[in-house]
C-alpha cells in the first residue's frame, strides 16, 4: 500500500512517469503559495465576476417543481457562465496559476469540447498559446466546438489512437506534456489525474457550492436536502458538493452516464460497473476487464464518456458521504427535452443526467424538501446530436 501525497482515503496519488514528477512537484509548490496569495485571489475573483459572469444564478424552477408535485427544485446555472459551462472556473484558475509560474503555453484534453473551448478562451485572454487534444470520435460529435477552439486561436489535435475518445485525449495530452514541460502547463479539465490536479481543480470549482450555500440560505433560510450533479471525472459535482460535505443533512448525489445500461458493455458508469485500479496518474475506480485493460466506455454524452472517476469521488463513495447513481442515454435525453419545455432551459446532455435523477425523486419527496441541481453546461452543443438520436436528420 502506497501512502504518497494527494490521497483521498486509499485513492489518488501520483502514478506518472518520472519525467513528469518535477513538473507536478513544481505545480504543487506554486499552488500552495498562490492559493493563499491575496493578489492572486483578488485577480481570480475579478476574472470570475467580470469575465466569466459569476456568481451564477440559483434559479427556482417553479414550473418543474409544480409539475413534479414534490420537492422544491433549484437550478444552479453554471450554463450561464462565459463559454457555457462550469469548466471556465477551473481554467481561469489554472491559466492564471500557469502564467504566474512563467508558462506561456497551455495544453488540454477535451471530451465534449467544453473544457477545450474554456482553455482556448483563457489562453486567448491571457495571451498564451494553446493546443487541445480531442478524440477523433469526439471531434465528429462536437464539430462546432472544434471550430470554436480554432476561432479562439487554439490548435486542435485529433487523437486517433485507442478508442478515439476522452481517455485517449488525456493520454495524448500527458504524452505531449512529457515532451515539453519547461514552457507548458497541462490544464487538466477534471478532478482527476495525479496530485495536485484533483485538489487544484476541486478548489477552483468549489466556488459553485460556496455560492449555492449563500444563495439558498438567503432564499430559503436553510440548507438544501439534496445536491445533484452529473459525474464524469467529477469536477462540477465535487464543486457542487464541497462546501456541503460537512453538512450531514445534505444528501450529495452524483449521476453517472450509464449509456445503454449498466448491464451492457456500452456504459460509462464507473462506480456501478468499475473496480479499483491505477490509471492516468491516480488510484480510483475504473471500468476495466479482468486483466486491468481499460474498457472502451460509451455514453451519448462526450463529456461523461470517461472510464474513471476522480479519486475524491471514489473516497466519498467508499465512506458513503455521497451516493452515485447511473442514468441511461434514454433517461438523459428525456430530461434534456423535459427541462427545455418546462423551464425554457436547454441543459447540456451531461447535466441532463442530473436533471433526470431529480425528476425521478422529486415527486416522492414532501414540498418542504429542497433539491439543487447543478446545470453544469448549456445544451446548444448537443442539439444536433439529440435530434439525430430522435431520428431527425439535421446538420449543424
Amino acid at each position: 500500500m502506497s501512502n504518497s501525497r494527494g490521497r483521498f482515503g486509499i485513492h489518488g496519488g501520483q502514478y506518472i512517469t518520472e519525467t513528469l514528477m518535477n513538473a507536478v512537484i513544481e505545480l504543487e509548490k506554486a499552488y500552495d503559495f498562490y492559493k493563499n496569495d491575496a493578489d492572486f485571489n483578488s485577480e481570480l475573483t475579478r476574472l470570475f465576476n467580470e469575465y466569466a459572469g459569476r456568481p451564477s444564478r440559483l434559479y427556482y424552477a417553479e414550473r418543474m417543481t409544480q409539475d413534479l408535485h414534490g420537492a422544491k427544485i433549484y437550478l444552479k446555472r453554471e450554463d450561464l457562465n462565459h463559454t457555457g459551462a462550469h469548466k471556465i472556473n477551473n481554467v481561469l484558475g489554472q491559466a492564471l496559476l500557469a502564467k504566474k509560474m512563467g508558462k506561456t503555453r497551455l495544453i488540454a484534453e477535451t471530451g465534449a469540447g467544453q473544457h477545450g473551448v474554456a482553455t482556448a478562451t483563457a489562453a486567448a485572454l491571457m495571451g498564451m498559446s494553446c493546443v487541445v487534444f480531442m478524440g477523433e470520435e469526439d471531434t465528429k460529435r462536437q464539430a462546432l466546438n472544434v471550430y470554436k477552439m480554432r476561432l479562439l486561436g487554439a490548435e486542435v489535435v485529433s487523437v486517433k489512437s485507442g478508442t478515439g475518445t476522452l481517455k485517449d485525449a488525456v493520454s495524448q495530452a500527458m504524452r505531449e506534456w512529457t515532451s515539453r514541460i519547461s514552457d507548458t502547463h497541462y490544464c487538466l479539465g477534471s478532478v482527476m489525474g495525479p496530485h495536485p490536479f484533483p485538489t487544484i481543480v476541486r478548489d477552483f470549482q468549489a466556488v459553485i457550492s460556496r455560492e449555492i450555500k449563500s444563495q439558498i440560505l438567503e432564499r430559503e433560510g436553510k440548507l438544501p436536502d439534496f445536491v445533484i450533479a452529473c459525474v464524469g471525472g467529477g469536477s462540477n459535482a465535487i464543486g457542487s458538493f464541497w462546501h456541503f460535505i460537512n453538512d450531514a443533512s445534505v444528501k450529495l448525489i452524483g449521476c453517472e452516464a450509464a449509456g445503454k445500461g449498466v448491464d451492457t458493455f456500452e456504459t460509462a458508469a464507473t462506480i456501478a460497473t468499475g473496480r479499483l485500479g491505477i490509471f492516468h496518474g491516480m488510484k480510483s475506480y475504473f471500468c476495466q476487464d479482468e486483466y486491468g485493460q481499460i474498457a472502451p466506455v460509451y455514453s451519448i454524452s462526450a463529456g461523461l464518456d470517461y472510464p474513471g472517476i476522480g479519486p475524491e469521488h471514489a473516497y466519498l463513495h467508499d465512506t458513503g458521504r455521497a451516493e452515485y447513481v447511473p442514468v441511461t442515454d434514454d433517461e438523459a435525453v428525456q430530461a434534456f427535452e423535459y427541462l427545455s419545455r418546462i423551464e425554457g432551459i436547454i441543459p447540456a446532455i451531461e447535466s441532463a443526467h442530473a436533471v433526470f435523477h431529480a425528476m425521478k425523486i422529486a415527486g416522492k419527496l414532501s414540498r418542504e424538501k429542497i433539491i439543487v441541481i447543478t446545470i453544469s453546461g448549456r445544451g446548444d452543443k448537443d442539439c444536433a446530436a439529440i435530434a439525430r438520436y430522435r431520428g431527425e436528420n439535421i446538420s449543424e
Partner: protein, 256 residues
C-alpha cells in the same frame, strides 16, 4: 545480489524490448530465442496495456494489436514458462501499474518469481509510489527497476540510492520512439547517478542505430532498444525472427 547483474558481466549490455503477443506469441517466442542466441544480455518483455501513456506511436500500436489478437497476462506467463526451458539470461517485465495491480499485486509478483522473471519496469510508478509494489517484490525476490529522466535533477540522488537491479536512464523528454539525435546531457546525469549508486546503468528511449548505441555505451553500462525492434516486427510480421537476429547481433557488436 540479483540475477540482473549477470547481464552486465559480458561487456556492455544490450537490452532489447519486445511487446509480447505482437503480432502473436509464437513470434515473440521465436524472437526472444534468437535475441538470446545473438547477444542480448537481458530482455524486457512488454505486457501490453490498453493505454500505454509512456509509449510513442510504434509501441502503442503494438500494444493495441497484441490485445486485439487476444493476448493476456496469463498467456504471457505461459510464454515465459516455455522460454525458461532454455533461456538463462535475465528477463524483466515492462508493463503499467494497473496490469499488475488489477491481477492482484502479490499474486502477480509471486508468479513472476516462480517463472523466472527477475525484475519489473513500471513507467507509471515513480519513486513516491514504489510502496505500491515494493513489499511484494522484496518478499518474492523480484527487482523493482527505477527510472531516471532528463528532468529528474535533484531527485537523482534519492532514486539512485534506493535502486535495485539496474538503473534505467531515460535519454530524452517525451515518449518512447526512435530519434535522430539525443541532445540531453547524459554525461552529467550519469555522473550524478554514479555518485549515488554502484548499480549498472542502461540508457533507453530513442536509440535505434549501432552508432547511437556505441555512443551511449561509452557513458553507460548498457543500451535499451524498443521501438526499432517493434518496427522490424511491424515490417516482417511472422517472418521477423531472422531480421531481429541480425539487428540484435549488429547492435551487440557495436557496443561490445
Amino acid at each position: 545480489m540479483s540475477n540482473i547483474c549477470k547481464a552486465f558481466e559480458n561487456g556492455k549490455a544490450f537490452i532489447p524490448f519486445i511487446t509480447c503477443g505482437y503480432p502473436d506469441l509464437n513470434v515473440t517466442y521465436e524472437c526472444v530465442k534468437s535475441m538470446c542466441e545473438n547477444g542480448a544480455d537481458l530482455i524486457e518483455l512488454g505486457i501490453p496495456f490498453s493505454d500505454p501513456v509512456a509509449e510513442g506511436v510504434v509501441i502503442q500500436n503494438a500494444n493495441f494489436r497484441a490485445l486485439a489478437a487476444g493476448v493476456t497476462t496469463d498467456k504471457i506467463f505461459e510464454l515465459v514458462r516455455r522460454l525458461r526451458i532454455d533461456v538463462t539470461i535475465p528477463l524483466v517485465f515492462m508493463t503499467y501499474a494497473n496490469v499488475i495491480f488489477s491481477y492482484g499485486s502479490e499474486k502477480f509478483i509471486k508468479i513472476c518469481a516462480s517463472i523466472g522473471i527477475d525484475g519489473l519496469i513500471i513507467p507509471d510508478l515513480p519513486f513516491e509510489e514504489k510502496g505500491e509494489f515494493l513489499p511484494d517484490c522484496r518478499k518474492y525476490g523480484v527487482d523493482l527497476i527505477s527510472m531516471i529522466a532528463p528532468t529528474s535533477e535533484a531527485r537523482i540522488a534519492k532514486i539512485a540510492r534506493e535502486a535495485e537491479g539496474f538503473l534505467y536512464i531515460v535519454s530524452s523528454l517525451g515518449v518512447t520512439g526512435t530519434r535522430e539525435n539525443i541532445t540531453t546531457d547524459l554525461s552529467a546525469i550519469m555522473r550524478s547517478v554514479r555518485e549515488n549508486s554502484d548499480l549498472p546503468c542502461a540508457i533507453g528511449f530513442g536509440i535505434s542505430r549501432p552508432e547511437q548505441a556505441r555512443d551511449m555505451s561509452k557513458i553507460a553500462d548498457g543500451v535499451i532498444v524498443g521501438s526499432a525492434i517493434i518496427k522490424i516486427l511491424e515490417k516482417y510480421g511472422t517472418e521477423s525472427a531472422k531480421y531481429v537476429r541480425e539487428y540484435v547481433r549488429s547492435m551487440k557488436d557495436a557496443i561490445i
